[in-house]
């Protein structure tokens, strides 16, 4: 499906991929506990073959730093893809799953599971997934109903969807706040870390589940995204070019929601990653292509987690921040910058 004459710059996407690899190893090797490259390979090799462990270092790398970096990279890819799929499909940079309430659905369901049912582990992830899909179905039903059905749909439908999502997100936020105020203090503390989006409790089990999910969802994203560049031309034009518009859109929504949901289930709703990845990828490579957005998503999470886990403790007397606090702090100014530069371009 590649086409000549596009403005994407493939070599810049390759640079992004290389940057992900470099940042991945930097986050494993550097930081408050530094590991040399030969030690790293010894540790991994011995871990796999059951050889001698390096005291301390083996544990920190294998049980903390490595799963943390793996999950960080994977959720970054998942959020980046989910955001770019939604933003391109709805032709609206605000329409990322974290803004339109899909992440809130996952959070609310997870909090209900933890606080009301005392769930933990896989049950919480399952609840998050179900919550995200339920909210997506609700938003889809609300925004595709009404007078727009059967007539021209385009930005109007996108805007309706964003508004419906923002409304649902606010309602779910109220549910979460209510439950948090009723929960006992220990449960509430656990839940809060999860709500901010955190890699602090990264484990290999979680990484494995996430890897399996992405092994199915990333190729699926590649397949369902094929008609995306035609849907961009508007529903009528896309139908004229032989796209089954409703079917194609449903496949895109299900894939994007699943990506956001499995990532949220693994590490909580790391805020703004899905929202930021696409626009940043567009600035860097000229187009918000899916691979570029995925790599930018991974870069954001890895960089933010490095700050949260290694730099923040230096300033905050050893407190390791949830990664979502850093991405949230980055996301808001970026949103404003996006608005300011967009206005300047139009003027």
């Amino acid at each position: 499906m590649e086409q000549r004459g596009g403005r994407g710059r493939p070599h810049r996407t390759a640079v992004l991929a290389a940057a992900v690899v470099i940042l991945f190893f930097a986050s494993v090797l550097l930081g408050s506990y530094t590991v040399t490259i030969p030690d790293f390979f010894t540790i991994v090799f011995n871990h796999l073959t059951g050889g001698v462990k390096i005291p301390g270092a083996s544990f920190i790398v294998m049980e903390n730093k490595l799963p943390r970096a793996v999950i960080g990279t994977l959720i970054g890819i998942a959020f980046g893809l989910a955001g770019a799929l939604f933003q391109t499909m709805l032709r609206n940079p605000l329409a990322s799953p974290d803004v339109i309430g899909i992440s809130s659905g996952a959070s609310a369901a997870a909090v209900v599971a933890i606080v009301v049912f005392g769930a933990s582990g896989a049950a919480v992830s399952g609840a998050a997934l179900a919550g995200a899909l339920a909210v997506a179905a609700l938003i889809y039903a609300i925004s595709s109903g009404g007078k727009l059905r059967g007539t021209r749909r385009g930005n109007a439908a996108g805007n309706r969807l964003v508004l419906a999502g923002v409304g649902i997100a606010a309602a779910l936020q109220a549910v979460v706040s209510f439950l948090m105020s009723r929960a006992d203090i220990r449960t509430a503390a656990d839940t809060l870390v999860w709500l901010n989006g955190s890699l602090n409790s990264a484990t290999w089990d979680r990484a494995g589940v996430l890897l399996l999910a992405l092994a199915a969802l990333v190729p699926a994203a590649g397949v369902v995204a094929a008609p995306l560049r035609i849907l961009e031309l508007g529903d009528d034009a896309a139908a004229g070019l032989g796209v089954r518009v409703n079917r194609a859109r449903l496949a895109l929504v299900v894939t994007a929601v699943s990506l956001a949901a499995v990532a949220t289930a693994a590490a909580g709703p790391v805020s703004f990653v899905a929202f930021l990845a696409g626009p940043i990828a567009r600035r860097l490579t000229g187009t918000a292509s899916l691979p570029a957005s995925a790599f930018v998503g991974a870069l954001i999470v890895l960089a933010a987690d490095y700050v949260a886990a290694n730099l923040a403790p230096l300033l905050l007397d050893g407190t390791v921040l949830p990664v979502g606090v850093i991405t949230g702090a980055l996301g808001a100014p970026f949103l404003l910058w996006l608005l300011v530069t967009a206005n300047r371009k139009e003027a």
Binding site: R4, R7, R152, D236, A239, G240, L241, G242, T287
Partner: protein
């Protein structure tokens, strides 16, 4: 062979019939203009003739086969549609946009080839947009942009092409340019063209065949000289007018009367 035909077609929005039991045949290799007052169902008919709107009753057939039974992409290789308000993605170049017209010719296992390049090149040349090929679509004027969209529809290389008000928002010179372009396409490639058009004079000038619609039904159909008459304009548009031969083309030229000029008109009757 490419005959597009509607049989007892009923099209509804929200249970309300917009087109009711309409049968019409778009003549092969001709330019057909669909005219009528606002909300007479002409754009709806065009949507029904493609797969944009599912018929509540009746069917549309291309070469005798119901268009709803055919795979969407296969249909899009024979039947093209340029809608009224397509959207150009941000920052897309002219060549890239025109290239998207090749989508129905590609498949999961069939990627971009020299054949697609050649089709895009032909479309750019035919529409005079070759020199714009590297430009951003956002930067173009309204007339240039419309030519680019037509180029995209041409790159689709269909036997039948439907256009929904392709001259809206264009000044008169660009309206004529767009219709000349569509006529070129019909003459050189033999493409069957059907256009929904507001401007009755231009429709009469460029049509081989006129379909006049009123209240979701065909009021008259045939060559412009037979169809476009003072009686028809009165019936279809509710407008008093004079119709005389166009001094340039000899096709019917409609001169609206209106309330303020009725007296003057009576004083100087046009023979």
């Amino acid at each position: 062979m490419a005959v597009l035909e509607a049989r007892n077609l009923t099209l509804k929005y929200h249970q309300r019939s917009v087109v009711d039991g309409l049968s019409v045949r778009i003549p092969e290799g001709k330019v057909t203009m669909i005219v009528g007052a606002n909300a007479c169902g002409k754009s709806t008919l065009l949507r029904g003739l493609t797969r944009l709107l599912k018929p509540a009753a009746g069917a549309v057939a291309l070469d005798g086969r119901d268009i709803r039974t055919r795979p969407a992409r296969e249909l899009a290789r024979s039947l093209g549609l340029l809608p009224q308000h397509p959207t150009a993605p941000d920052g897309i170049t002219v060549r890239d946009l025109v290239g998207r017209g090749r989508y129905p010719h590609q498949g999961f296992f069939r990627s971009w080839t020299g054949k697609d390049d050649a089709a895009v090149q032909r479309a750019l040349e035919a529409t005079g947009t070759l020199e714009l090929a590297g430009r951003d679509v956002d930067e173009l004027s309204g007339g240039q942009r419309q030519r680019v969209w037509i180029a995209m529809a041409l790159a689709q290389e269909t036997e039948v092409l439907l256009l929904d008000e392709p001259t809206t928002f264009l000044d008169l010179a660009h309206q004529v340019e767009v219709l000349d372009l569509v006529t070129d396409l019909n003459r050189t490639r033999g493409t069957t063209v059907a256009i929904v058009l507001h401007d009755l004079n231009l429709a009469a000038r460029y049509a081989d065949n006129v379909i006049a619609m009123k209240d979701g039904a065909v009021a008259a159909m045939g060559v412009p000289e037979d169809v476009v008459t003072e009686e028809l304009v009165r019936e279809v548009f509710g407008l008093e007018s004079r119709v005389m031969p166009d001094p340039v083309s000899g096709t019917p030229l409609i001169i609206p009367i209106g309330r303020h000029h009725a007296t003057a008109n009576e004083l100087e009757p046009v023979s």
